[in-house]
């Protein structure tokens, strides 16, 4: 019969209090687990996507907006750039491939992305982010390949037709290009990337949809002279800063390195949000530690006689101190395990939501260095909370406590 067993028996003897204390620790741990895991996983996912292309080139303006709109299909495009500039950039030394992007329309909120057929064959390491689940790629304008999320959400399938709405905001007032319907010819396999929620077609389709004659005295528009942006693959990632600087200085465009913009976003905004959420998590754990302290302290007061009996039976002060500290350890450990499970469940549910809404998949809670540090801090706080009650038990006055009725 070890001290661990004795400590466990006393916790079991007051199940309700123990469960409530464990739950309060678990809530803090769950919050910390979820915040750290979501932060790490989303950053990893964002950065993975950002790594696929070395540069994004678009109209003069905000580099982050350019990256978000072109790589993640999240923000409105900055504007258009001259197609001629993109063609010149494609011929630069160290540029391996350039994929022009044309955007302007959406279908039920999903962006219609005009590009070149070659992008669909793009490979990145072992990954083929545009691999088909069914159907084929487009062979002519107004044939479309849709992301898995689009197919799931809209009910579109191979053979379906749809028409785009002008602009990127859902709702009334938008112009419907009803006269130029698209036909779905393929569905991209679910990849957990932004591609899941995009509709791809030949860039000629986008130009054709927006081809207008002269109106109200305006000069005749030639959309085919412009593209929204271009994704650029270089011979080596080491050339990113050099090419970015060169393109930004020599052309009337903005060139951005996606991974750098995303890291800046995390450092500036999401880093602060993470710090705030983590602070809340630790605050909950501090409050939980206080509840461990109060719970154990009250328990020690109630069982002073038991401690005195153990002392009379030969238990040393150190053993009594240790037994109470072990109780704090058990409570904290159970809180950690329950909190980890609760955090994992939260991440799973959030992951499911994010996968369908944003195309991001969140992995289960894993023991990263940050999480191990956080869990160690929680365990330490739990043990510190146990010291005062343990000290109270250590100071047991055997004769007095045995004499009390």
């Amino acid at each position: 019969m070890s001290l661990w067993h004795i400590a466990w028996s006393y916790l079991w003897n007051r199940k309700l209090t123990t469960v409530m204390t464990v739950l309060s620790v678990a809530l803090g741990v769950a919050l910390i687990s979820a915040v750290l895991t979501l932060r790490e996983e989303t950053q990893k996912r964002f950065e993975e996507e950002a790594q696929a292309f070395d540069l994004v080139v678009g109209a003069k303006g905000n580099a982050l907006q350019l990256v978000l709109s072109t790589v993640y299909f999240l923000d409105s495009p900055v504007g258009n750039v001259a197609r001629a500039d993109i063609e010149k950039i494609a011929k630069l030394e160290d540029v391996d491939a350039v994929f022009p992007i044309g955007m302007g329309d959406t279908y039920k909120g999903y962006r219609i992305v005009g590009t070149v057929r070659e992008l669909m064959d793009f490979k990145w390491g072992e990954r083929r982010p545009y691999a088909l689940a069914e159907g084929r790629y487009w062979e002519k304008p107004f044939e479309a390949v849709i992301g898995a999320g689009v197919a799931q959400d809209t009910g579109l399938k191979v053979g379906s037709t749809f028409t785009g709405m002008h602009g990127f905001v859902q709702g009334g007032g938008a112009e419907d290009h009803a006269e130029k319907p698209y036909k779905v010819v393929g569905v991209i396999a679910l990849s957990g990337t932004p591609n899941d929620r995009a509709i791809f077609c030949d860039i000629q389709s986008v130009w054709d949809v927006h081809e207008h004659g002269a109106e109200n005295g305006e000069p005749e528009a030639h959309p085919s002279d412009e593209v929204t942006a271009a994704l650029v693959r270089l011979a080596t990632p080491a050339q990113r800063p050099v090419l970015r600087k060169k393109i930004n200085s020599e052309y009337n465009v903005t060139a951005a390195v996606p991974v750098l913009e995303i890291q800046k976003l995390y450092d500036q905004f999401l880093g602060m949000a993470k710090a705030v959420l983590l602070a809340i998590g630790y605050l909950v754990v501090v409050i939980s530690s206080l509840s461990i302290l109060i719970g154990l302290y009250m328990a020690i007061l109630q069982r002073r006689r038991d401690l005195a009996i153990m002392r009379a039976l030969g238990a040393t002060r150190g053993e009594i101190f240790g037994a109470v500290l072990i109780e704090a350890f058990w409570v904290t450990l159970l809180g950690l395990v329950a909190g980890w499970a609760l955090g994992a469940l939260t991440c799973k549910l959030l992951g499911l939501y994010l996968a369908t809404k944003l195309g991001f998949h969140i992995a289960a809670v894993s023991l990263s260095a940050d999480l191990i540090t956080a869990y160690s801090a929680v365990l330490l706080m739990g043990m510190i909370a146990g010291i005062l009650p343990a000290w109270q038990a250590y100071r047991t006055d055997i004769a007095r406590d045995l004499a009390e009725p």
């Binding site: 019969m1 003897n13 153990m310 053993e319």
Partner: protein, 220 residues
């Protein structure tokens, strides 16, 4: 076995315990008898090291216990003493078996591999072989005191200190518990010091020490 010489202990302003001499030889079965407040429980606490004397010598089994450090006294108590209390003082979360096991947990007298066998044998000896896994709350008061007796003797102590062990029992149960306790102390060849205010109980033991006057008021 137990010797007190010129032992003094202040109990409060103007109140003190004082015992010039007390001797209980090895194997004695002695009642420490006296009215309430006479100092018999204080004497028992001093003998068992639960209270420290302010003066004098307390020798138990050849050891002057007032000289022992706190941890040495804990170890000495665990090895040489068995305690029986008026209110049984069983540990509520544990079964009868585990209460007896705890009696061995805090000393090194019985090898760990023999704990279960020894605890079971002791509980069977006090006729509780059928209640090994019962929690104290489900035992009758007589059964609880028998568990306490088993726990006190399980460690093969040299001295049993019993503080009003029949004080919470009805006369019939008290009689049975006393019979059992005396039998077991004889079997285990252990010295018994039993505090009681009940002369009838005290007279069942071969030796008696009158504690009247051990606590004196008006002392400086």
């Amino acid at each position: 076995m137990v010797l007190l010489e010129n032992v003094q202990r202040k109990l409060g302003p103007g109140v003190a315990f004082a015992c010039d001499r007390f001797h209980a030889p090895e194997g004695a079965r002695m009642a420490l008898w006296g009215p309430s407040g006479c100092g018999k429980s204080t004497m028992l606490n001093l003998i068992s090291g639960l209270l420290r004397p302010h003066a004098g010598v307390i020798r138990v089994d050849g050891q002057e216990i007032q000289k022992l450090s706190e941890s040495a006294l804990d170890a000495f108590r665990g090895e040489r003493y068995g305690f029986i209390f008026q209110t049984f003082n069983l540990l509520a979360p544990f079964s009868a078996m585990k209460n007896v096991l705890i009696g061995m947990r805090f000393s090194d007298v019985i090898p760990e591999k023999e704990w279960k066998e020894r605890a079971k044998a002791m509980l069977e000896r006090v006729d509780l072989g059928h209640r090994l896994h019962a929690k104290p709350a489900t035992l009758s008061v007589g059964e609880r005191q028998r568990v306490a007796i088993a726990r006190a003797l399980v460690n093969r102590p040299r001295l049993i200190v019993a503080d009003e062990p029949t004080g919470s029992l009805d006369p019939k149960t008290a009689n049975a518990v006393m019979t059992l306790l005396l039998e077991l102390c004889a079997e285990e060849k252990v010295t018994l010091l039993l505090v009681t205010h009940d002369r009838g109980i005290a007279d069942r033991l071969p030796d008696l020490f009158d504690c009247s006057g051990l606590v004196k008021e008006g002392t400086s």
